[in-house]
């Protein structure tokens, strides 16, 4: 029996993590897996720290991923990657955008944004893919395509073919942004 795989998607409310989990769900469904995707709606969406759990395998029970269980943490923002490292299993991997978005306590001066987070994560023995997804998304045509860049990078660690990914993208994004999103995905995959 296949061990359930766990992907955590973390970021700042409004960054588009819901689309990323929707797309992953569609892709995994074509693989014939049992799947659970747990989202956050409501108040925490308003610029707060948001977490989406994607789990797949032969049989998935719990909708959530606990500490020490994630195979991948895909983070839209650097501080959010650092916030959830405890959720990674020892052989897991963090894929993070290096973009920094100041949370309100940093904006007001009550706290400071920690420095050298990528290095600190690596020093702690974590496997980290840190990429400037924002620049790659802009290169593809829109800052909003950060999610596809990150998924592209994640695709390196999965057995799905590019065709299968493209099909999932086609069913998840509006037709007029399709080429832009495909380009963002490829840039992420090649990063």
């Amino acid at each position: 029996m296949m061990q359930t795989k766990n992907i955590m998607i973390v970021g700042v409310g409004g960054q588009g993590s819901l689309l990323a989990s929707k797309l992953l769900g569609k892709l995994l469904l074509t693989g014939g897996y049992d799947i659970k995707v747990s989202e956050v709606h409501g108040m925490s969406q308003r610029g707060g720290s948001v977490v989406t759990y994607v789990r797949f395998g032969d049989k998935v029970y719990s909708p959530i991923i606990d500490r020490g269980e994630a195979d991948f943490i895909v983070s839209f923002e650097l501080l959010e990657a650092a916030r959830y490292t405890e959720y990674l299993r020892p052989e897991g991997r963090i894929i993070t955008n290096t973009q920094q978005i100041n949370p309100m306590p940093v904006i007001t001066g009550a706290a400071s944004y920690p420095e050298n987070l990528v290095q600190k994560m690596e020093n702690a023995g974590l496997a980290v893919d840190a990429i400037d997804a924002l620049s790659l998304a802009e290169e593809a045509g829109s800052a909003k395509a950060v999610n596809l860049v990150l998924l592209g990078r994640l695709s390196r660690y999965f057995d799905f073919t590019e065709e299968e990914w493209m099909k999932a993208i086609e069913t998840s994004v509006p037709a007029k942004f399709l080429e832009l999103n495909k380009k963002a995905f490829r840039l992420g995959a090649q990063s």
């Binding site: 799947i35 989202e39 709606h41 409501g42 969406q45 707060g48 606990d66 994630a70 020093n123």
Partner: protein
């Protein structure tokens, strides 16, 4: 065909397949998407009602007319709908009536952590509890069968992790349902004589439902490889137990949480060495198991506070948890904030400047409570700002009161919340004449739950034009003579309105009106910028807590991906450092 479906969408699918024809709800996280998804089916009439009481009464009326009907709400919404709930428990239904209530353990987006299962017991209404999306479809359909077979409304209990998780489902076909209405005064007119005759029928119905619970496939028993421990559980708790233990221990899963299968529980308990009840929030199953004379482990190990997870199960059964590596850094919190361009910001800044006590309410504007604005004094429930203000003002004016009378107090309430239950409080202010100022923050949408229409927006749930309540006329009609409208982007106008209305010697309403900056039809201006040579680093612009402004190298800087050009920050700058964007 197999597809992924959100738990709430699956409830809507169940409604569709069951032939449900009428849906009336009030939005509330985590229940909102049920009604939004139901509205997408042509065959279902779906609407947003002004509040949960109106919604449930409407759904009851639809049931009476002979169509399967539905009403959905969050846990605290059921408090509002409790009045009709306890009496339709007596009348029963004509066509099936299903009421979904979504709890929010962990309070992701709620003001309390109430356990709605108590309502099932208290109102003597059966309650089903699905644990994933496939069950959400199946249980919703079964709920209609139970409703009609036993002549009772049926509660369908959701929780955040079931409502907002997608899992695999196989949708089925719709079966239409309709029956005729026939007058039955003894059943539907609940005056004392009739109600006295209905109550024993309700008690007999519960007995019949207990017998049903013994055999229904909603309640399942799974065998385990060891009988050292037996677990009774339901909903997400079942998923966490299965995730950790697989088939190790026997598990009784209650899909029908009320009434419970008493014989089945007794016989399950007899076959295991130690009985453990795993349930989130209160001791509901556990208390009933104990009432049956069975000893068990429950809340002594599993907290009544917050959500569970796999680690909760590991910790309480095996004294161990799994965890990963923390890094060596202080990670600042990232609380939710009012969005850049939020029209509430300018108003809250004005209230803070005027040093007023602010009775808050439920909505996006609850975020006015967080630093740096810290504008609110209270948040209780829908409408409590207005009625609380009345009591506060009346009591502080009484002889012997020692609260500072010079510090003025206002209520702040959103357009949708005002229609939900603020209006009755305003009637009280007018009728019992308290010198109170109510501020309606009218952003022309129900914001926090994700942009639902309401009676003030001029649109209905299906997206069609609808009657639009005129707030000014409504407030005047209840007896408020001083009603004025301000633009919250205009700080000077806001300040003047607040000062004048607080100085007036009679009740007043200020409508702070500007549509939510996230609405699709709202056009944003070009982002502002800061001239670093003009900026004196005084941080005045930081006082409004806009996520688009931060101090970089000692100077204010605007994030042009977030800025909507609202210009509130520029009005605070004494050194003219802000520049308007080009091509406004």
């Amino acid at each position: 065909m197999k597809t992924l479906m959100l738990g709430n969408e699956a409830v809507a699918r169940g409604l569709y397949e069951a032939g449900c024809a009428f849906v009336s709800s009030y939005p509330g996280t985590p229940s909102t998407e049920i009604t939004e998804a139901a509205a997408k089916y042509q065959e279902i009439y779906a609407e947003w009602a002004p509040n949960e009481k109106v919604a449930l009464e409407s759904a009851f009326g639809a049931s009476l007319s002979g169509r399967r009907s539905f009403c959905g709400m969050k846990h605290v919404g059921l408090n509002v709908a409790a009045d009709p709930l306890f009496t339709i428990a007596y009348t029963g239904v004509n066509a099936g009536l299903v009421i979904a209530v979504a709890d929010d353990p962990g309070m992701h987006s709620s003001q309390n952590e109430q356990d709605s299962r108590h309502y099932a017991r208290a109102s003597k209404i059966p309650m089903l509890e699905p644990a994933d999306s496939a069950e959400a479809i199946a249980f919703t359909k079964e709920a209609y069968e139970i409703s009609e077979t036993f002549d009772t409304p049926v509660l369908l209990k959701m929780c955040t992790r079931v409502a907002h998780s997608q899992s695999v489902v196989e949708p089925g076909e719709r079966t239409e349902f309709a029956k005729a209405y026939a007058k039955d005064a003894a059943k539907y007119i609940m005056m004392p004589g009739n109600a006295k005759r209905r109550h024993p029928i309700v008690e007999a119905r519960t007995e019949a439902l207990i017998a049903f619970a013994e055999t229904t496939p909603l309640n399942t028993v799974e065998n385990g490889s060891s009988n050292d421990i037996g677990i009774i559980t339901s909903s997400t708790s079942y998923q966490y137990v299965k995730e950790v233990f697989g088939d190790t221990y026997p598990i009784m899963k209650l899909g029908m949480i009320w009434p419970m299968p008493e014989k089945k529980i007794v016989s399950f308990a007899q076959n295991v060495r130690t009985l453990v009840v795993v349930e989130e929030l209160d001791s509901f199953i556990e208390s009933h198991v104990r009432d049956l004379g069975i000893s068990c482990i429950g809340k002594s190990k599993f907290s009544c506070i917050g959500e569970f997870s796999q680690n909760t199960i590991r910790e309480q059964f095996e004294n161990t948890v799994i965890t990963g590596t923390k890094i060596d850094a202080e990670i600042p919190a990232r609380p939710p904030v009012m969005c850049a361009g939020c029209p509430h910001r300018g108003l809250f800044y004005t209230l803070v400047r005027n040093k007023v006590t602010v009775m808050g309410d439920i909505g996006c504007y609850t975020l006015g409570a967080v630093p740096p604005l810290g504008a609110l004094d209270t948040t209780i429930c829908m409408g409590a700002s207005v009625s609380g203000l009345h009591g506060f003002n009346k009591a502080s004016a009484l002889e012997g009161s020692v609260t500072d009378e010079k510090r003025k107090t206002v209520a702040v309430i959103g357009d949708s919340t005002f229609m939900h239950s603020g209006i009755t409080g305003l009637v009280n202010i007018a009728y019992n004449d308290s010198n109170s100022t109510v501020i309606i923050v009218d952003n022309s949408i129900t914001g926090m739950t994700g942009h639902q229409q309401n009676p003030t927006t001029g649109m209905n749930l299906k997206g069609d034009p609808a009657a639009k309540i005129d707030l000014e006329t409504l407030c005047r009609a209840v007896g408020i003579r001083r009603v004025r409208v301000v633009d919250p982007y205009d700080l000077a106008a806001c300040d003047l309105a607040v000062k004048e209305e607080l100085a007036a010697n009679e009740p007043s309403v200020i409508i702070s009106r500007r549509p939510c900056a996230l609405l699709k039809y709202v056009k944003h201006k070009k982002p502002l910028s800061v001239d670093p040579d003009q900026c004196r680093s005084c941080k005045m612009c930081m006082k409004i807590g806009c996520p688009a402004i931060s101090m970089v190298n000692g100077k204010a800087k605007i994030d042009n991906t977030l800025c909507t050009g609202c210009g509130v920050c520029a009005q605070l700058c004494k050194f003219d450092a802000f520049r308007k964007g080009e091509n406004e």
